[in-house]
Homo-oligomer: 330 residues x 2
């Protein structure tokens, strides 16, 4: 084995930052690794994405029912399809599982995945089951993109930044689960947002069809970190107003006034997108038909690059390395 | 947790046998779970497949270099594309890995995967790296099928059964690795066949283009078990002549005369296909242009269903539950 630095010394993002440049520019790759989905030549309008849930890292077995776990493995991928403005079509589901796993639970897991796919008009078309020391689920989803898929790279100076729903709920939910605090006002609601996320497929599709966003991403690593991905891909900076980041009633009841989880907590699976001012009227026209609230939380600026946050007193600050980083957490 | 039977009580195949009927017939699914690749409506000529390698199940870390491991994770999927007669185009690579993994090894693993993809004219377009208790690699490959992808279900009574290369070598190789017997005549060759398989993309493509096979599969579970898959999908039986199953010089040197591993050993990644007698002349015309030997090992019969083997004395027998079955092995 090669000696030297370990993966946890640089973390998942650090590793991907080194890896991505070596992956760009393959034959026929229109949008490759580094956006929510890949877009490739040869299969018009195909968008494809993959994600994995690992026991002990993304979930503990007693945090949710097997059906919920199977469903979530599909839903987190549907969120990436939503972030391109696409429709989900086909799923591949690979499960690694110890031989000691209850057969019934494994069947329920698959049933949950199937139902989640069906609800999003998608079919499970392949996959496999393999022995493994602990449970993991790896899913690939193929979707159909709009004529122009919505990328992370289209944000321009002066665009406004919007987010769907109430970020931070899922991060609050997982902390409640970790602490064993399941009962009490608001707690169940927050936990549900972690265990059973709602990918915004319909919203993404409507926004893309109406040609409203200049860039879009789903909030999986945390709002600020994901906005940072848009900034990096678009070569711009952004300012987020702390006070404007929407927080749910449950979040306020359980967490209180601290916006930290709303800014940096992961796994929300909300959509975040930038809108040029000239398209704001079109966005307002759409709003009544959308299934969730939209909130303007900030704007795109030229420099400095990266995301700054404005607190209540108007001061700007930068969030430290936050968001979800499984290797540092461990 | 639900009580009752465990996964290992029915095994991987047993579980899939229960699962597959519930997956068939989704919207737009032309060929779904249960063939080498899926074929779907909406993306003409797309074939897609996924497979996973798990540490301690499919490999041990010191059995091969990180590059070889990364390459193999791609190659086993390319073999499924080959079995449809397709060309590989795009790959998604998800790696689950402990934080204690050497960074350099993880980079080499990705480099090996990239090289293997490039050699097959494919690009890595997405994926992710996630923390996990032990190493696993989940790969999805998208390919371009011929006008009519070669399925498992086309075998007809009277067809002859062919296999490429020399099956059983990889199974012999893994047994040598397990026993720590790496040196000595023939051993390295067998181990190489396990560690660095050669998917038969060019052969599959030429066969499909020439319209020779009636059904095709790649030999990953073991020759008899995979021929059983063709029989089951096609509603036929088959007889394999033990004496005609080709064995490599290394196999004969290390294993001797016993054909068991050639008949039931897994992970060969050779192609097995059935050919109607009227197309045999066309096959002979192709043979000089193929990069590996082809051997006729048997024929398709009406009944009984399933695979029977003819020994040297002409007696027919049925192989017990063999092939690769990770849950029973553990």
């Amino acid at each position: 084995m090669t000696k030297g630095r370990l993966l946890r010394d640089v973390g998942e993002l650090g590793f991907l930052r080194r890896l991505l440049p070596t992956l760009r520019g393959g034959r026929g790759v229109l949008v490759g690794a580094g956006d929510d989905c890949a877009v490739v030549r040869g299969f018009p309008r195909l968008v494809v994405t993959t994600d994995v849930l690992v026991e002990g890292v993304h979930f503990e077995r007693d945090w949710q029912s097997p059906q919920q776990l199977g469903a979530k493995s599909i839903l987190v991928n549907l969120s990436d399809i939503a972030a391109m403005g696409g429709r989900s079509r086909y799923c591949l589901l690979s499960v690694g599982v110890p031989g000691s796993h209850p057969l019934k639970d494994l069947e329920l897991l698959h049933r949950g995945a199937q139902r989640a796919a069906q609800k999003a008009s998608a079919s499970i078309v392949g996959g496999n089951v393999s022995a493994a020391p602990s449970l993991f689920i790896s899913v690939t989803v193929l979707g159909m993109s709009p004529r122009r898929p919505l990328l992370r790279s289209g944000a321009r100076v002066g665009d406004l930044v919007f987010v769907t729903g109430t970020p931070g709920d899922a991060a609050a939910g997982v902390r409640l689960l970790q602490a064993g605090l399941r009962d009490g006002p608001g707690r169940a609601a927050l936990i549900r947002r972690y265990v059973a996320p709602t990918p915004r497929l319909d919203v993404g599709l409507r926004l893309a069809t109406a040609g409203v966003p200049s860039a879009m991403i789903d909030v999986s690593d945390g709002l600020v970190q994901d906005l940072g991905h848009i900034c990096e891909s678009s070569g711009v900076g952004a300012i987020v107003s702390e006070a404007r980041v929407p927080r749910s009633r449950a979040y306020r009841a359980v967490i209180g006034g601290d916006p930290a989880l709303a800014l940096s907590g992961g796994e929300d699976y909300e959509l975040m997108f930038t809108v040029p001012p000239r398209r704001l009227a079109r966005l307002e026209g759409l709003r009544p038909r959308l299934s969730c609230p939209l909130t303007c939380i900030g704007e795109v600026v030229a420099r400095p690059k990266g995301v700054r946050i404005q607190d209540k007193s108007g001061r700007l600050y930068v969030l430290g390395a936050g968001g979800y980083e499984h290797f540092h957490a461990g």
